[in-house]
Symmetry: C2
Amino acid sequence: MAVGRDAVSSWGEQATRALAGAGFRRGGARAAVIDLLDRQDCALSAVEIEDELRRHGERGVARASVYRILEELEGLRLVSRVEVGQKLARFEPSRPEGHHHHLVCHECGQVIPFEDAGLERSIMRLSRRMAFDVEQHDVVLRGACRDCAG
Amino acid sequence: MAVGRDAVSSWGEQATRALAGAGFRRGGARAAVIDLLDRQDCALSAVEIEDELRRHGERGVARASVYRILEELEGLRLVSRVEVGQKLARFEPSRPEGHHHHLVCHECGQVIPFEDAGLERSIMRLSRRMAFDVEQHDVVLRGACRDCAG
DNA sequence: TTTCGTGCAAATTATTTGCACTTGG
DNA sequence: CCAAGTGCAAATAATTTGCACGAAA
């Protein structure tokens, strides 16, 4: 179940609107990437996005375009970059109601999202105390997932 | 003040011993890198390590060797890799008593360490509850540091 | 038609690898 | 002497950039 996919206005629609508002034209490649991301709950890498679009999407999109589009979306805070230290960056739609962090299995490389209110509370308290204007935070837990732990 | 630098046995000594125990020989480049890391509290990139050694260290060490040595040390859990999404990896000595996380200023790029017991507690509780064998965790806070926030 | 969007190929950057030479034990 | 350690140059891999062409407004 995609977080917020059935909301009144889907992430994809919001993204399209935000892009238009920011003065961007409506291009085919951009629409295809947004469309794919809208159907995702977890983070995808640029290559995965390219492959998925070439294979199952309405049209192929060049790698460079994928990166450019993701960069725009990140700039507008519509997408967030997730780097869990696998050398490649992953990207996922930013859904306010779907704030979460990631577990990474160091065996199979799987990236699994999770939410935790206690953790968020700690971070909020901590941020308030900090001599630093904290705007964002990322938590990564590493270990063996159930399957790999055996 | 270096965390634990005045302990009975410094991180550098422990590292040297651990390396010997793991069957590695005592090479000049390796000793130089350990020596430099022993004097650090914050994470350095491979390039910074190379430059620092070439400039102020007892001897220069080739970039490739720096990476190889860091990889060994990471494998023995003597060094931990810190990736805060600046495209390059940073490395710091793992000192059990100096566990901390990082603040990253998105203006000046500065990486600042911090500790927080409440945060650790939340993560511990969370880990226990998880269907996942959590062995490690990283928290990165992003925002503007005091200077850059103006 | 004019500017923006996109594809393709070449460039960049961090990191890794292959291989010959050196050195510790 | 022999395996492990190191430097150097070449190889990778992810990401970015330059430029020409096609498409939106």
